[in-house]
């Protein structure tokens, strides 16, 4: 079974239909109610909402980190409802993740942390080296390639995390509060890099945030409250550039 057919960009990158989700600790508690959502290739979508509203749950479901219970969830053309563990693991390889905590491996250098993402892909030594150096330059950390994460500032670590997420050239980036632990300037830098790189690779981004300072990068903003997606709100101001759905390189 080919999990990832060569899909054309007409198909939505993420397609959620009537998704419901429950937590089963003690009593059965519903956390997501009838979610419907389509995100197209190249779109940058921000998801906001109060804590506990189910944003992260939805993000982990889309990221194939949690089993879908009811409804339909298609990511990059692959249905995740009733997917096996192995299928879920494979699905993750086409997604780049950026976490609130950078989650870099402490015992690896900056270079090795990015290299690790390439372990999953069939690459030659030269291609890997070129790719890693390109990414380090893109995030402005070429001088730090042999540093360990503990030697870096919070913003620098998050930039390494972005480079790692992009190493495998994913078609989809999922980010959870990537700027929460950063000061204003670092936060702006991070989203700028993210936006720039996503544009270059025609990559879709779904970003959960509370951070009002970065809302302007969005093509679209969706709001989650009590497990329901509310009406989409328009971006605060029109984004420069034209990363609209369906754009070709």
């Amino acid at each position: 079974m080919n999990l990832f057919p060569d899909h054309e960009t007409q198909e939505a990158t993420i397609s959620v239909n009537s998704l419901n989700h429950y937590y089963q600790q003690g009593s059965r508690k519903q956390v997501l109610f009838d979610i419907n959502l389509e995100i197209h290739a190249g779109e940058i979508v921000l998801m906001t909402g109060p804590s506990g509203s189910g944003k992260t749950t939805l993000l982990t479901l889309i990221g194939s980190l949690r089993s879908v219970q009811a409804g339909s969830l298609k990511v990059l053309g692959c249905e995740l409802l009733n997917a096996t563990q192995a299928q879920m693991t494979l699905a993750r390889r086409n997604i780049g993740y950026i976490f609130q905590a950078h989650n870099l491996l402490s015992f690896l250098t900056v270079y090795q942390n990015i290299e690790l993402a390439l372990e999953l892909h069939d690459v030659t030594a030269e291609v890997a080296d070129t790719r890693i150096k390109q990414l380090l330059t893109a995030v402005g950390l070429e001088r730090f390639s042999h540093s360990y994460p503990r030697e870096l500032s919070g913003g620098q670590k998050q930039r390494v995390a972005i480079a790692r997420a992009l190493a495998g050239e994913p078609k989809l980036i999922l980010a959870d509060e990537p700027t929460a632990a950063l000061d204003k300037q670092s936060g702006r830098d991070i989203v700028a890099i993210l936006q720039q790189l996503a544009k270059e690779q025609n990559c879709t981004i779904l970003l959960v945030t509370h951070d009002h300072r970065i809302l302007d990068i969005a093509d679209r903003i969706i709001d989650m409250e009590d497990g329901r997606l509310s009406q989409e709100v328009p971006p605060l101001q029109p984004r420069p550039g034209n990363l609209s759905p369906g754009i070709e390189q």
Binding site: R92, Q100, N103, F107, Q112, E119
Partner: protein
Amino acid sequence: MKTDYRATSPRQKRPLFLAWLQLRQKWARLLVAVTGISFAAVLMFLQLGFRGALFSSAVEFHQSLNGELIMLSSRYRSLISLDRFTERRLYAMAGVPGVQSISPVYLNFIQWRNPDNNQIWDIFAIGINPEHQVMNLPGVQANRQQLREPDTVLFNRGSRQEFGPITQYFQAGDLIQTEVDERRIKVKGLFQLSPTFGINAYLITSDLNFLRLAEFRQPGLIDVGVLKLEAGADVQQVLAQVELHLPKDVKVLTKEDYAKAEVAFWNTSTPVGYTFDLGVVIAFIVGAVIVYQILYSDVTEHLPEYATLKAMGFHDRYLLMVVYQESLILATLGFIPGVLIALGFYQVTHWATLLPMTMDLGRVLFVFVLTLVMCLVSATVAVRKLQTADPADVY
């Protein structure tokens, strides 16, 4: 920026050696782990060393006998569980085709007085015909003819201090006179037999002197008969011939089987073999617990990182391999100093006890395999913790 990195090429990127990079990070913990594994390996080596020394020292006498077939009483069990038989049984075999010569041996514990402090200790006396080359030991070959003199003995170079500093006196050229079973004797030479778990020291004398010293022993009732075969004779064939005429009160074994019977006696009829086997098992468990502790805390500490790896799309199998690789690295790093330390302990133990503690390749491999198994078992228990690394928790 678009690079076709999925192209296959002969020079694939070398995978990151995650296990080693991770172990290397916490060098203090790595040191503790390596020390613990070395400790377990040393314990196993010592137990096996004692066990091996027990068995090899126990059969030094047997192997020194200059003959291919050995006659014993059918009730004989071991050097410390003797039974006598009449030497006529042995002489009856002199005519069997293929037998070149026969020689009787008397064995008994007798009392030796330490010439320095007059303490009395039991010594294992061997009475041989001084005209025959009964025992292939350098000191015996050279000095046996001197035993024709009354009340002379050869003394055991490898014997313990309790018997007095006989070796030093002898080598200094002093005349050593002491008492054995109330008779004054002279030491005429030295030979080398290691102490065993049953015998502290040996003494070799002529059959006539033996009967003088052990007055309670009856001439003609012997403990061991040595049959020397003609050059080129087939041992099994002669043995079959011998057994044709064999009365029920005696048995004849090849020298190898005689030695094996001694080992079997110590292994099964005394607690000694079991004790050392148990020692090995306990060392194994101690080592396994240490490795488990190290790997478990390592996995626990890196759980968020493992969850991240899972979220990135690594299979559980990849993470299992990392932990197993760690355990193999630990096993190897711990084993190498373990062998060296064990060699040191062997030497020290040999000095202190005169037991023949020797290392052989078979034992090195055996302990290495035990160490590997120990680490793999611990890893198998520790990786169960990996299942709790939930990729959904990393957000």
